[in-house]
Protein backbone atom coordinates (compact mmCIF):
# COMPACT_ATOMS: atom_id res chain seq x y z
CA UNK A 1 0.00 0.00 0.00
CA UNK A 2 3.01 2.28 0.04
CA UNK A 3 4.72 4.23 -2.73
CA UNK A 4 8.47 4.50 -3.30
CA UNK A 5 9.84 8.01 -3.09
CA UNK A 6 13.35 8.86 -4.22
CA UNK A 7 15.05 11.57 -2.13
CA UNK A 8 18.12 13.19 -3.67
CA UNK A 9 20.77 15.39 -2.02
CA UNK A 10 21.41 18.55 -4.04
CA UNK A 11 23.65 21.48 -3.22
CA UNK A 12 21.79 24.77 -3.01
CA UNK A 13 23.62 26.32 -5.98
CA UNK A 14 22.53 27.55 -9.41
CA UNK A 15 22.38 24.81 -12.03
CA UNK A 16 22.37 21.85 -9.65
CA UNK A 17 18.69 21.10 -10.03
CA UNK A 18 18.86 21.51 -13.81
CA UNK A 19 21.76 19.06 -13.97
CA UNK A 20 19.56 16.55 -12.20
CA UNK A 21 16.36 17.02 -14.21
CA UNK A 22 18.41 16.81 -17.41
CA UNK A 23 19.38 13.25 -16.53
CA UNK A 24 15.73 12.31 -16.08
CA UNK A 25 14.76 14.03 -19.30
CA UNK A 26 17.52 12.38 -21.35
CA UNK A 27 16.44 8.97 -20.06
CA UNK A 28 12.75 9.41 -20.65
CA UNK A 29 11.78 9.26 -17.00
CA UNK A 30 8.50 10.86 -16.08
CA UNK A 31 8.05 12.49 -12.69
CA UNK A 32 4.70 11.80 -11.06
CA UNK A 33 5.23 13.85 -7.93
CA UNK A 34 7.86 16.35 -6.87
CA UNK A 35 8.70 18.37 -3.81
CA UNK A 36 11.80 20.29 -2.81
CA UNK A 37 12.86 21.07 0.76
CA UNK A 38 15.84 23.33 1.24
CA UNK A 39 18.25 24.84 3.74
CA UNK A 40 20.68 27.62 2.83
CA UNK A 41 23.33 25.06 1.91
CA UNK A 42 21.53 22.08 0.47
CA UNK A 43 18.19 20.79 -0.64
CA UNK A 44 16.43 17.47 -0.72
CA UNK A 45 14.50 16.77 -3.88
CA UNK A 46 11.74 14.25 -3.25
CA UNK A 47 10.14 12.62 -6.22
CA UNK A 48 7.99 9.76 -7.34
CA UNK A 49 8.74 8.50 -10.83
CA UNK A 50 7.22 6.08 -13.28
CA UNK A 51 10.28 3.79 -13.07
CA UNK A 52 11.95 3.78 -9.66
CA UNK A 53 14.43 1.01 -10.46
CA UNK A 54 15.71 2.66 -13.65
CA UNK A 55 15.99 6.03 -11.92
CA UNK A 56 17.93 4.69 -8.96
CA UNK A 57 20.35 2.90 -11.27
CA UNK A 58 20.92 6.12 -13.19
CA UNK A 59 21.46 8.14 -10.03
CA UNK A 60 23.94 5.61 -8.71
CA UNK A 61 25.88 5.76 -11.98
CA UNK A 62 25.92 9.54 -11.88
CA UNK A 63 27.23 9.59 -8.31
CA UNK A 64 24.26 11.20 -6.59
CA UNK A 65 23.55 10.62 -2.91
CA UNK A 66 19.95 9.46 -2.60
CA UNK A 67 17.67 7.22 -0.62
CA UNK A 68 14.42 5.41 -1.27
CA UNK A 69 11.67 5.89 1.28
CA UNK A 70 8.23 4.31 1.48
CA UNK A 71 5.60 7.02 1.68
CA UNK A 72 1.81 7.01 1.55
CA UNK A 73 -0.24 8.35 -1.31
CA UNK A 74 -3.92 8.98 -0.74
CA UNK A 75 -6.69 10.12 -3.01
CA UNK A 76 -9.05 12.72 -1.61
CA UNK A 77 -11.97 14.53 -3.22
CA UNK A 78 -10.90 17.71 -5.04
CA UNK A 79 -13.03 20.01 -2.91
CA UNK A 80 -12.68 22.27 0.15
CA UNK A 81 -12.23 20.53 3.50
CA UNK A 82 -11.09 17.14 2.23
CA UNK A 83 -7.38 17.62 3.05
CA UNK A 84 -8.32 18.83 6.49
CA UNK A 85 -10.37 15.69 7.03
CA UNK A 86 -7.46 13.44 5.99
CA UNK A 87 -5.02 15.23 8.27
CA UNK A 88 -7.46 15.04 11.17
CA UNK A 89 -7.55 11.28 10.74
CA UNK A 90 -3.79 11.14 11.35
CA UNK A 91 -4.01 13.62 14.21
CA UNK A 92 -6.69 11.61 15.94
CA UNK A 93 -4.57 8.47 15.58
CA UNK A 94 -1.58 10.32 17.12
CA UNK A 95 0.48 9.88 13.95
CA UNK A 96 2.98 12.65 13.27
CA UNK A 97 3.43 13.94 9.71
CA UNK A 98 7.09 14.59 8.92
CA UNK A 99 6.27 16.23 5.63
CA UNK A 100 3.64 16.10 2.89
CA UNK A 101 3.05 17.45 -0.58
CA UNK A 102 0.38 17.53 -3.25
CA UNK A 103 0.47 15.74 -6.62
CA UNK A 104 -1.19 16.58 -9.88
CA UNK A 105 -3.51 13.89 -11.18
CA UNK A 106 -5.65 13.25 -14.20
CA UNK A 107 -8.24 11.38 -12.14
CA UNK A 108 -11.34 13.48 -12.35
CA UNK A 109 -12.59 15.01 -9.12
CA UNK A 110 -9.63 13.69 -7.11
CA UNK A 111 -6.46 15.17 -5.61
CA UNK A 112 -3.48 13.04 -4.53
CA UNK A 113 -1.53 13.77 -1.41
CA UNK A 114 1.80 12.24 -0.38
CA UNK A 115 2.41 11.75 3.34
CA UNK A 116 5.67 10.89 5.07
CA UNK A 117 4.81 9.57 8.53
CA UNK A 118 6.71 7.66 11.20
CA UNK A 119 4.39 4.63 11.12
CA UNK A 120 3.07 3.70 7.67
CA UNK A 121 1.02 0.71 8.84
CA UNK A 122 -0.80 2.70 11.50
CA UNK A 123 -1.52 5.49 9.02
CA UNK A 124 -2.85 3.09 6.37
CA UNK A 125 -5.06 1.54 9.00
CA UNK A 126 -6.36 4.95 10.12
CA UNK A 127 -7.00 6.13 6.55
CA UNK A 128 -8.85 2.98 5.44
CA UNK A 129 -10.97 2.90 8.57
CA UNK A 130 -12.03 6.47 7.79
CA UNK A 131 -12.78 5.75 4.16
CA UNK A 132 -9.77 7.55 2.69
CA UNK A 133 -8.33 5.75 -0.31
CA UNK A 134 -4.65 4.80 -0.13
CA UNK A 135 -3.04 4.44 -3.55
CA UNK A 136 -0.50 1.82 -4.62
CA UNK A 137 2.75 2.14 -6.59
CA UNK A 138 1.25 0.81 -9.83
CA UNK A 139 -0.98 3.87 -10.10
CA UNK A 140 2.18 5.91 -10.71
CA UNK A 141 3.77 3.60 -13.27
Amino acid sequence: MTVKQISVFLENKPGKLAAFTKILSENGINMRALSLAETSDFGILRLIVDDTYKTSTLLKDEGFVFSITKVLAVAIPDKPGSLNAAIEVLGNAQINIEYMYAVTTHAKGLAYMIFRVADNAAAIDAFTKNGIKVICQDEFE
Binding site: F9, L10, A37, E38, D41, F42, I44, G63, V65
Partner: protein, 435 residues
Protein backbone atom coordinates in the same frame (compact mmCIF):
# COMPACT_ATOMS: atom_id res chain seq x y z
CA UNK B 1 61.01 60.10 23.66
CA UNK B 2 61.66 56.38 23.90
CA UNK B 3 60.64 54.75 27.20
CA UNK B 4 62.35 51.66 28.59
CA UNK B 5 61.38 49.48 31.50
CA UNK B 6 64.88 48.15 32.07
CA UNK B 7 67.20 50.33 29.95
CA UNK B 8 70.37 48.73 31.33
CA UNK B 9 69.17 45.38 29.97
CA UNK B 10 67.23 46.47 26.91
CA UNK B 11 70.09 48.64 25.62
CA UNK B 12 73.00 46.53 26.91
CA UNK B 13 75.97 45.94 24.61
CA UNK B 14 75.90 42.84 22.41
CA UNK B 15 78.90 41.54 24.40
CA UNK B 16 77.01 41.92 27.65
CA UNK B 17 73.96 40.13 26.23
CA UNK B 18 76.18 37.33 24.95
CA UNK B 19 77.86 37.04 28.37
CA UNK B 20 74.48 36.76 30.11
CA UNK B 21 73.35 34.14 27.62
CA UNK B 22 76.53 32.06 27.93
CA UNK B 23 76.41 32.01 31.70
CA UNK B 24 72.67 31.34 31.98
CA UNK B 25 72.64 28.68 29.26
CA UNK B 26 75.36 26.64 30.94
CA UNK B 27 73.47 26.77 34.26
CA UNK B 28 70.15 25.98 32.66
CA UNK B 29 71.47 22.94 30.79
CA UNK B 30 72.87 21.56 34.04
CA UNK B 31 69.56 22.30 35.78
CA UNK B 32 67.53 20.51 33.11
CA UNK B 33 69.97 17.57 33.06
CA UNK B 34 69.57 17.22 36.83
CA UNK B 35 65.82 17.73 37.09
CA UNK B 36 64.11 16.79 33.81
CA UNK B 37 64.67 13.08 33.03
CA UNK B 38 62.65 13.42 29.81
CA UNK B 39 65.15 15.89 28.33
CA UNK B 40 68.16 14.20 29.88
CA UNK B 41 67.21 11.06 27.99
CA UNK B 42 67.05 13.08 24.76
CA UNK B 43 70.52 14.46 25.47
CA UNK B 44 71.86 11.01 26.22
CA UNK B 45 70.41 9.68 23.00
CA UNK B 46 72.28 12.41 21.16
CA UNK B 47 75.43 11.75 23.18
CA UNK B 48 75.50 15.21 24.74
CA UNK B 49 76.25 15.98 28.38
CA UNK B 50 76.22 19.33 30.21
CA UNK B 51 80.01 19.38 29.89
CA UNK B 52 79.61 19.77 26.12
CA UNK B 53 77.74 23.05 26.54
CA UNK B 54 80.25 25.73 27.46
CA UNK B 55 78.60 28.72 25.75
CA UNK B 56 75.88 29.68 23.28
CA UNK B 57 78.24 28.51 20.52
CA UNK B 58 77.46 24.97 21.69
CA UNK B 59 73.70 25.42 21.68
CA UNK B 60 73.31 23.64 18.33
CA UNK B 61 74.51 20.40 19.96
CA UNK B 62 71.36 20.14 22.08
CA UNK B 63 68.34 18.14 20.93
CA UNK B 64 65.14 19.93 19.90
CA UNK B 65 61.85 19.88 21.75
CA UNK B 66 58.58 19.93 19.83
CA UNK B 67 54.92 20.25 20.63
CA UNK B 68 54.74 16.43 20.36
CA UNK B 69 57.27 16.19 23.20
CA UNK B 70 55.10 18.47 25.30
CA UNK B 71 52.09 16.28 24.64
CA UNK B 72 54.02 13.13 25.40
CA UNK B 73 55.41 14.58 28.62
CA UNK B 74 52.00 16.00 29.64
CA UNK B 75 51.45 17.15 32.28
CA UNK B 76 54.52 17.03 34.53
CA UNK B 77 57.23 15.44 32.35
CA UNK B 78 59.10 18.66 31.59
CA UNK B 79 58.76 20.22 35.00
CA UNK B 80 62.12 21.15 36.57
CA UNK B 81 60.83 22.16 40.00
CA UNK B 82 58.69 20.41 42.60
CA UNK B 83 55.03 21.40 42.34
CA UNK B 84 55.22 23.07 45.74
CA UNK B 85 57.52 25.70 44.19
CA UNK B 86 55.03 26.41 41.39
CA UNK B 87 52.32 29.02 41.75
CA UNK B 88 50.58 29.14 38.36
CA UNK B 89 49.53 27.02 35.38
CA UNK B 90 48.66 28.45 31.97
CA UNK B 91 47.57 26.51 28.93
CA UNK B 92 47.48 26.86 25.17
CA UNK B 93 44.24 28.09 23.71
CA UNK B 94 41.31 25.82 23.07
CA UNK B 95 43.08 22.89 21.44
CA UNK B 96 41.73 19.93 23.39
CA UNK B 97 43.57 17.45 21.21
CA UNK B 98 46.90 19.16 21.71
CA UNK B 99 46.57 21.01 24.97
CA UNK B 100 49.87 22.05 26.48
CA UNK B 101 50.24 23.15 30.07
CA UNK B 102 53.06 25.34 31.35
CA UNK B 103 54.08 25.89 34.98
CA UNK B 104 55.43 29.01 36.64
CA UNK B 105 57.19 29.77 39.89
CA UNK B 106 56.67 33.24 41.36
CA UNK B 107 60.06 34.18 39.91
CA UNK B 108 58.93 32.97 36.46
CA UNK B 109 55.81 35.13 36.70
CA UNK B 110 57.88 38.15 37.70
CA UNK B 111 60.21 37.75 34.72
CA UNK B 112 57.32 37.16 32.33
CA UNK B 113 55.52 40.25 33.60
CA UNK B 114 58.74 42.24 33.23
CA UNK B 115 58.90 41.20 29.59
CA UNK B 116 55.34 42.48 29.15
CA UNK B 117 56.25 45.67 31.01
CA UNK B 118 59.06 46.23 28.48
CA UNK B 119 56.50 45.84 25.69
CA UNK B 120 54.10 48.31 27.28
CA UNK B 121 56.82 50.92 27.82
CA UNK B 122 58.11 50.39 24.28
CA UNK B 123 54.60 51.32 23.16
CA UNK B 124 54.93 54.55 25.13
CA UNK B 125 53.30 53.34 28.34
CA UNK B 126 54.09 54.98 31.68
CA UNK B 127 52.49 55.00 35.14
CA UNK B 128 50.25 57.81 33.91
CA UNK B 129 48.50 55.50 31.46
CA UNK B 130 45.24 53.60 31.70
CA UNK B 131 45.94 50.16 30.29
CA UNK B 132 42.81 48.45 28.91
CA UNK B 133 43.42 44.70 28.66
CA UNK B 134 40.82 42.83 26.64
CA UNK B 135 42.78 39.71 25.94
CA UNK B 136 41.06 36.73 27.53
CA UNK B 137 41.90 36.10 31.17
CA UNK B 138 42.19 32.57 32.44
CA UNK B 139 44.26 29.72 31.03
CA UNK B 140 45.12 31.84 27.99
CA UNK B 141 48.31 33.80 28.65
CA UNK B 142 47.19 37.01 26.91
CA UNK B 143 45.19 38.58 29.75
CA UNK B 144 47.36 37.55 32.71
CA UNK B 145 50.61 38.50 30.90
CA UNK B 146 49.65 42.03 29.88
CA UNK B 147 47.82 42.53 33.17
CA UNK B 148 50.99 41.73 35.11
CA UNK B 149 53.12 43.86 32.81
CA UNK B 150 50.76 46.78 33.22
CA UNK B 151 51.05 46.50 37.02
CA UNK B 152 54.84 46.46 36.80
CA UNK B 153 54.81 49.65 34.72
CA UNK B 154 52.39 51.16 37.22
CA UNK B 155 49.61 51.81 34.72
CA UNK B 156 46.06 51.97 36.00
CA UNK B 157 44.99 48.55 34.79
CA UNK B 158 41.54 47.68 33.45
CA UNK B 159 41.25 43.88 33.47
CA UNK B 160 38.38 43.83 30.96
CA UNK B 161 38.98 40.38 29.48
CA UNK B 162 37.39 39.63 26.11
CA UNK B 163 33.85 40.15 24.84
CA UNK B 164 31.02 42.51 25.70
CA UNK B 165 31.96 45.20 23.21
CA UNK B 166 29.40 47.69 24.58
CA UNK B 167 31.02 47.61 27.99
CA UNK B 168 34.52 47.76 26.50
CA UNK B 169 33.64 50.96 24.67
CA UNK B 170 31.80 52.47 27.61
CA UNK B 171 34.74 51.93 29.98
CA UNK B 172 37.15 53.13 27.33
CA UNK B 173 35.21 56.42 27.10
CA UNK B 174 34.34 56.84 30.79
CA UNK B 175 37.69 55.83 32.27
CA UNK B 176 39.95 57.27 29.59
CA UNK B 177 41.83 54.16 28.47
CA UNK B 178 45.06 55.17 26.73
CA UNK B 179 46.61 51.80 25.87
CA UNK B 180 44.60 48.97 24.36
CA UNK B 181 45.79 45.35 24.59
CA UNK B 182 43.92 42.73 22.55
CA UNK B 183 44.07 40.65 19.39
CA UNK B 184 44.40 42.73 16.21
CA UNK B 185 41.11 41.40 14.87
CA UNK B 186 39.29 42.49 18.01
CA UNK B 187 41.02 45.89 17.82
CA UNK B 188 39.72 46.27 14.27
CA UNK B 189 36.25 45.28 15.40
CA UNK B 190 36.37 47.74 18.31
CA UNK B 191 37.53 50.46 15.93
CA UNK B 192 34.56 49.78 13.63
CA UNK B 193 32.16 49.77 16.57
CA UNK B 194 33.53 53.05 17.92
CA UNK B 195 33.19 54.71 14.50
CA UNK B 196 29.64 53.37 14.07
CA UNK B 197 28.65 54.97 17.35
CA UNK B 198 30.41 58.23 16.45
CA UNK B 199 32.51 58.00 19.64
CA UNK B 200 35.95 58.57 18.09
CA UNK B 201 36.24 61.95 19.86
CA UNK B 202 35.37 60.41 23.22
CA UNK B 203 38.27 57.95 23.32
CA UNK B 204 41.76 58.82 24.55
CA UNK B 205 43.68 55.85 23.18
CA UNK B 206 47.23 56.56 22.03
CA UNK B 207 48.65 53.09 21.54
CA UNK B 208 47.64 49.48 21.06
CA UNK B 209 49.57 46.27 21.76
CA UNK B 210 48.16 43.60 19.52
CA UNK B 211 49.19 39.96 19.29
CA UNK B 212 48.20 36.29 19.53
CA UNK B 213 47.40 36.10 15.83
CA UNK B 214 48.88 37.05 12.49
CA UNK B 215 48.02 40.43 11.01
CA UNK B 216 49.11 42.41 8.00
CA UNK B 217 50.59 45.89 7.58
CA UNK B 218 47.32 46.91 5.89
CA UNK B 219 45.44 45.91 9.01
CA UNK B 220 47.89 47.87 11.14
CA UNK B 221 47.37 51.03 9.09
CA UNK B 222 43.61 50.53 9.14
CA UNK B 223 43.49 50.22 12.94
CA UNK B 224 45.93 53.09 13.45
CA UNK B 225 43.89 55.38 11.23
CA UNK B 226 40.50 54.49 12.68
CA UNK B 227 41.55 54.71 16.32
CA UNK B 228 44.14 57.46 15.89
CA UNK B 229 46.78 55.37 17.67
CA UNK B 230 50.10 53.69 17.05
CA UNK B 231 49.68 49.91 16.84
CA UNK B 232 52.46 47.67 18.16
CA UNK B 233 52.93 43.98 17.56
CA UNK B 234 53.71 41.58 20.40
CA UNK B 235 54.69 37.92 20.17
CA UNK B 236 54.84 35.03 22.53
CA UNK B 237 53.84 31.48 23.22
CA UNK B 238 52.65 29.70 26.32
CA UNK B 239 55.40 27.08 26.07
CA UNK B 240 58.07 29.77 26.44
CA UNK B 241 56.13 32.05 28.84
CA UNK B 242 53.37 33.94 27.01
CA UNK B 243 53.13 37.34 25.33
CA UNK B 244 56.27 39.43 25.63
CA UNK B 245 58.79 36.91 24.34
CA UNK B 246 59.31 39.67 21.79
CA UNK B 247 57.71 43.05 21.19
CA UNK B 248 57.75 45.96 18.82
CA UNK B 249 59.36 49.33 19.51
CA UNK B 250 58.74 52.76 17.96
CA UNK B 251 60.59 51.69 14.80
CA UNK B 252 57.79 49.16 14.05
CA UNK B 253 60.18 47.09 11.96
CA UNK B 254 60.21 43.80 13.83
CA UNK B 255 59.98 42.61 17.40
CA UNK B 256 62.88 42.71 19.87
CA UNK B 257 63.33 39.32 21.48
CA UNK B 258 64.08 39.51 25.22
CA UNK B 259 67.44 37.85 24.78
CA UNK B 260 68.40 37.99 28.42
CA UNK B 261 65.68 35.33 28.93
CA UNK B 262 65.29 33.61 25.58
CA UNK B 263 67.94 32.58 23.08
CA UNK B 264 66.54 32.60 19.55
CA UNK B 265 67.79 30.52 16.64
CA UNK B 266 66.55 30.14 13.09
CA UNK B 267 66.77 26.64 11.66
CA UNK B 268 66.02 24.89 8.43
CA UNK B 269 62.77 23.10 9.36
CA UNK B 270 63.65 20.10 7.19
CA UNK B 271 67.23 19.48 8.30
CA UNK B 272 67.35 21.20 11.68
CA UNK B 273 70.52 23.01 10.61
CA UNK B 274 71.04 26.47 12.18
CA UNK B 275 70.77 29.29 9.64
CA UNK B 276 72.61 32.64 9.75
CA UNK B 277 70.88 35.94 10.58
CA UNK B 278 68.77 37.27 7.73
CA UNK B 279 67.76 33.85 6.45
CA UNK B 280 64.18 32.69 6.63
CA UNK B 281 63.52 29.61 8.72
CA UNK B 282 61.84 28.17 11.77
CA UNK B 283 62.19 30.04 15.03
CA UNK B 284 63.59 28.05 17.97
CA UNK B 285 63.70 29.27 21.56
CA UNK B 286 65.75 28.28 24.58
CA UNK B 287 64.53 29.58 27.94
CA UNK B 288 67.60 30.37 30.01
CA UNK B 289 65.98 31.91 33.08
CA UNK B 290 62.79 29.87 33.51
CA UNK B 291 62.69 27.84 36.71
CA UNK B 292 59.58 25.65 36.53
CA UNK B 293 59.24 24.91 32.82
CA UNK B 294 62.58 25.51 31.11
CA UNK B 295 62.40 24.40 27.50
CA UNK B 296 65.63 24.00 25.59
CA UNK B 297 65.57 24.44 21.81
CA UNK B 298 61.80 24.47 21.51
CA UNK B 299 60.63 24.52 17.89
CA UNK B 300 57.91 27.14 17.52
CA UNK B 301 56.98 26.13 13.93
CA UNK B 302 56.78 29.84 13.14
CA UNK B 303 58.75 30.85 10.08
CA UNK B 304 60.57 34.17 10.37
CA UNK B 305 63.83 36.08 9.97
CA UNK B 306 66.19 37.49 12.64
CA UNK B 307 68.10 40.76 12.26
CA UNK B 308 70.71 42.27 14.54
CA UNK B 309 71.01 45.61 12.79
CA UNK B 310 71.13 48.66 15.04
CA UNK B 311 67.62 49.78 15.88
CA UNK B 312 66.60 53.45 15.98
CA UNK B 313 64.91 52.88 19.35
CA UNK B 314 68.22 52.23 21.05
CA UNK B 315 67.46 48.63 22.00
CA UNK B 316 70.18 46.13 21.21
CA UNK B 317 68.25 42.89 21.40
CA UNK B 318 67.80 40.89 18.20
CA UNK B 319 64.66 41.58 16.17
CA UNK B 320 62.41 38.94 14.63
CA UNK B 321 60.13 39.60 11.68
CA UNK B 322 56.41 38.98 11.92
CA UNK B 323 55.90 35.24 11.44
CA UNK B 324 55.67 34.60 7.69
CA UNK B 325 54.01 31.22 7.91
CA UNK B 326 54.16 27.91 9.69
CA UNK B 327 56.37 24.89 9.20
CA UNK B 328 53.44 22.66 10.18
CA UNK B 329 49.78 22.79 9.22
CA UNK B 330 48.60 24.70 12.27
CA UNK B 331 46.11 27.49 11.65
CA UNK B 332 45.48 30.35 14.02
CA UNK B 333 41.79 31.23 13.89
CA UNK B 334 40.39 33.86 16.26
CA UNK B 335 43.63 33.59 18.21
CA UNK B 336 43.08 29.87 18.73
CA UNK B 337 45.42 27.15 17.44
CA UNK B 338 43.63 24.79 15.08
CA UNK B 339 45.12 21.67 13.51
CA UNK B 340 43.37 20.06 10.52
CA UNK B 341 43.99 16.69 12.20
CA UNK B 342 41.67 17.72 15.06
CA UNK B 343 38.88 18.44 12.60
CA UNK B 344 39.55 15.13 10.87
CA UNK B 345 39.26 13.27 14.17
CA UNK B 346 35.86 14.83 14.90
CA UNK B 347 34.61 14.01 11.38
CA UNK B 348 35.68 10.38 11.65
CA UNK B 349 34.15 10.03 15.14
CA UNK B 350 30.87 11.32 13.74
CA UNK B 351 30.87 8.91 10.81
CA UNK B 352 31.74 11.44 8.11
CA UNK B 353 34.26 10.64 5.39
CA UNK B 354 37.82 11.90 5.81
CA UNK B 355 37.38 13.85 2.61
CA UNK B 356 36.94 17.41 3.78
CA UNK B 357 38.13 20.92 3.18
CA UNK B 358 38.71 23.75 5.63
CA UNK B 359 38.01 27.29 4.48
CA UNK B 360 39.39 30.07 6.62
CA UNK B 361 38.48 33.66 5.86
CA UNK B 362 38.34 37.02 7.53
CA UNK B 363 34.98 38.77 7.25
CA UNK B 364 34.70 42.28 8.73
CA UNK B 365 38.06 41.71 10.44
CA UNK B 366 36.83 38.62 12.20
CA UNK B 367 38.07 35.13 11.38
CA UNK B 368 35.63 32.55 10.10
CA UNK B 369 36.19 28.84 9.64
CA UNK B 370 34.05 26.57 7.52
CA UNK B 371 34.39 22.83 7.28
CA UNK B 372 33.08 21.37 4.03
CA UNK B 373 32.17 17.71 4.14
CA UNK B 374 30.88 15.51 1.36
CA UNK B 375 27.46 13.95 1.90
CA UNK B 376 27.48 10.15 1.95
CA UNK B 377 24.63 7.64 1.49
CA UNK B 378 25.12 6.63 5.16
CA UNK B 379 24.62 10.16 6.41
CA UNK B 380 21.79 10.98 4.06
CA UNK B 381 18.11 10.93 4.94
CA UNK B 382 14.93 12.11 3.24
CA UNK B 383 14.30 14.30 6.28
CA UNK B 384 15.92 17.73 6.54
CA UNK B 385 15.56 17.68 10.31
CA UNK B 386 17.52 14.44 10.61
CA UNK B 387 20.34 15.79 8.48
CA UNK B 388 20.48 19.12 10.28
CA UNK B 389 20.40 17.37 13.66
CA UNK B 390 23.54 15.44 12.66
CA UNK B 391 25.04 18.67 11.37
CA UNK B 392 24.37 20.41 14.70
CA UNK B 393 25.97 17.52 16.55
CA UNK B 394 29.04 17.88 14.36
CA UNK B 395 29.19 21.64 14.97
CA UNK B 396 28.96 21.07 18.70
CA UNK B 397 31.67 18.37 18.68
CA UNK B 398 33.92 20.66 16.63
CA UNK B 399 33.34 23.44 19.13
CA UNK B 400 34.27 21.10 21.97
CA UNK B 401 37.45 20.04 20.18
CA UNK B 402 38.59 23.40 18.81
CA UNK B 403 37.16 25.82 21.34
CA UNK B 404 35.70 27.98 18.58
CA UNK B 405 32.63 27.84 16.37
CA UNK B 406 33.23 26.28 12.98
CA UNK B 407 30.51 26.34 10.37
CA UNK B 408 29.74 23.03 8.69
CA UNK B 409 28.72 22.84 5.05
CA UNK B 410 27.51 19.63 3.47
CA UNK B 411 28.46 19.37 -0.18
CA UNK B 412 27.71 16.89 -2.96
CA UNK B 413 29.90 13.80 -3.32
CA UNK B 414 33.12 14.14 -5.30
CA UNK B 415 33.05 17.94 -5.28
CA UNK B 416 36.05 18.34 -2.97
CA UNK B 417 39.19 18.19 -5.09
CA UNK B 418 41.19 15.06 -4.63
CA UNK B 419 44.71 16.08 -5.37
CA UNK B 420 47.54 13.75 -6.21
CA UNK B 421 49.74 13.25 -3.18
CA UNK B 422 49.15 15.72 -0.39
CA UNK B 423 45.54 16.76 -0.24
CA UNK B 424 44.70 20.44 -0.25
CA UNK B 425 42.82 20.42 3.00
CA UNK B 426 43.05 24.06 3.92
CA UNK B 427 42.16 27.14 1.92
CA UNK B 428 43.18 30.22 3.87
CA UNK B 429 41.77 33.26 2.12
CA UNK B 430 43.08 35.72 4.70
CA UNK B 431 46.49 36.21 3.04
CA UNK B 432 48.06 36.97 6.39
CA UNK B 433 51.54 35.93 5.47
CA UNK B 434 52.68 38.30 2.75
CA UNK B 435 56.38 38.15 2.08
Amino acid sequence: MEHYYQPEIECASREQIRAWQDERLVKQVQNVWDHVPYYRKKMEEKGVTPADIQSTADLHKLPFLTKEDLREAYPYGLLARPLEDCVRIQSTSGTTGRRVVAFYTQHDLDLWEECCARAIMAAGGTKNDVCHVCYGYGLFTGGPGLNGGSHKVGCLTLPMSSGNTERQIQFMCDLGSTILCCTPSYAAYLAESILERGLQDKIKLKAGIFGAEAWTEEMRRDIEEKLGIKAYDIYGLTEISGPGVSFECSAQTGMHINEDHFIAEIINPQTGEVLPDGEKGELVFTSITKEAFPLLRYRTRDICVLTREKCSCGRTHVKMSKPMGRSDDMLIVKGVNVFPSQIETVLMNNGYPANYQILVDRVNNSDTIEVQVEMTPEMFSDSISQITAKERELVSDLKAMLGIYAQVKLVAPKTITRSEGTAVRVIDKRNLYKN
